[in-house]
Symmetry: C2
Subunit: 179 residues, 2 copies
């Protein structure tokens, strides 16, 4: 942030009174522009024993497989956002069950929430952000072609839950990876 | 948002290509300024059977009681942020247990995450954002002087859990209230 989004004046970086962090402050109109992590919402959607993945058509990690997920929008709930992303990226209608995972990813300034969801039919229709959408049996998951560490962890935890017959909420902080 | 925070040019509101929402777009430097809901992190902290509340020294709802909570900062995890807010607002050191509640509050563009936490001592030292911090026995909770609907719901759910001997994750969308 270099300019004030309220008045267009140049921003200064300083610690406001009664604060302990450097903020983007407009010394012209006095607005303090707080910057905060963003929420990514997605689903671990299944049809029978198969898991829904989408192959990304956009950067970053174009061509790699991901769970349907994206930025939370103003005005929606977390559950509605996860359902919307699944419909937009995979064309899949789902029934959201419970919260499956909360991943803290500080180095990209994001928190990812994934919900367990059941597809209401096996119909798929990839949207503009996906090259394809496909259902994978556990043994066929393309582990070497996954887009993000959060996707790898979510799939790993899902298979672990399935083998143990459990259905827990998973919380993890994810490290910075080389990919 | 009226001006581009990257180049200072006036912003236009339009739907970018391959998007379906109106965004703040800079037609000079082509930056799309996405706006997303913010995360509020807090704790339902207890010492023995007592619950920690803080009386707000700042707007909104100055003078009313709240659970320690505040905006997630860049670079921290959700759990670290909840612990930080509890220390800043109440001076209380806590051990975070599990995730207690996820509240969707679309009309204020926020998602609130509250963690169950145990205070490591009854020591309190209210910070600059609090008039006082105090431990309340269940029967003494100041229901008519609570700051926010999320606080009221969290306290209600905590007492319900306690009476039932359960420890669940609660998820709710909160309606717009008159207060």
């Amino acid at each position: 942030m270099k300019f004030c989004s309220s008045c267009g004046h140049a921003i200064e970086k300083l610690v406001p009174a009664d604060d302990n962090r450097t903020r983007s402050v407009c010394t012209e109109c006095q607005t303090i522009h707080y910057e905060n992590p963003r929420l990514i919402l997605g689903t671990l959607s299944t049809w029978q024993d198969q898991i829904l993945l989408c192959r990304r058509a956009i950067a970053p990690r174009s061509g790699f497989w991901t769970l349907p997920a994206g930025f939370m929008e103003i005005g929606e709930s977390t559950e509605a956002g996860a359902r919307r992303e699944t419909l937009e990226e995979a064309g899949a209608e789902v029934e959201i069950h419970d919260l499956f995972a909360v991943f803290d990813i500080p180095h990209v300034e994001q928190v990812h929430l994934f919900f367990r969801a059941a597809m209401t039919s096996p119909h798929l229709a990839p949207g503009v952000e996906s090259l394809e959408a496909r259902l994978f049996k556990p043994d066929d998951i393309p582990w070497d072609e996954l887009a993000f560490e959060s996707v790898r962890q979510a799939l790993r935890l899902h298979l672990e839950d399935r083998s143990m017959g459990t259905s827990r909420l998973h919380r993890m902080q994810l490290p910075k990876m080389d990919w």
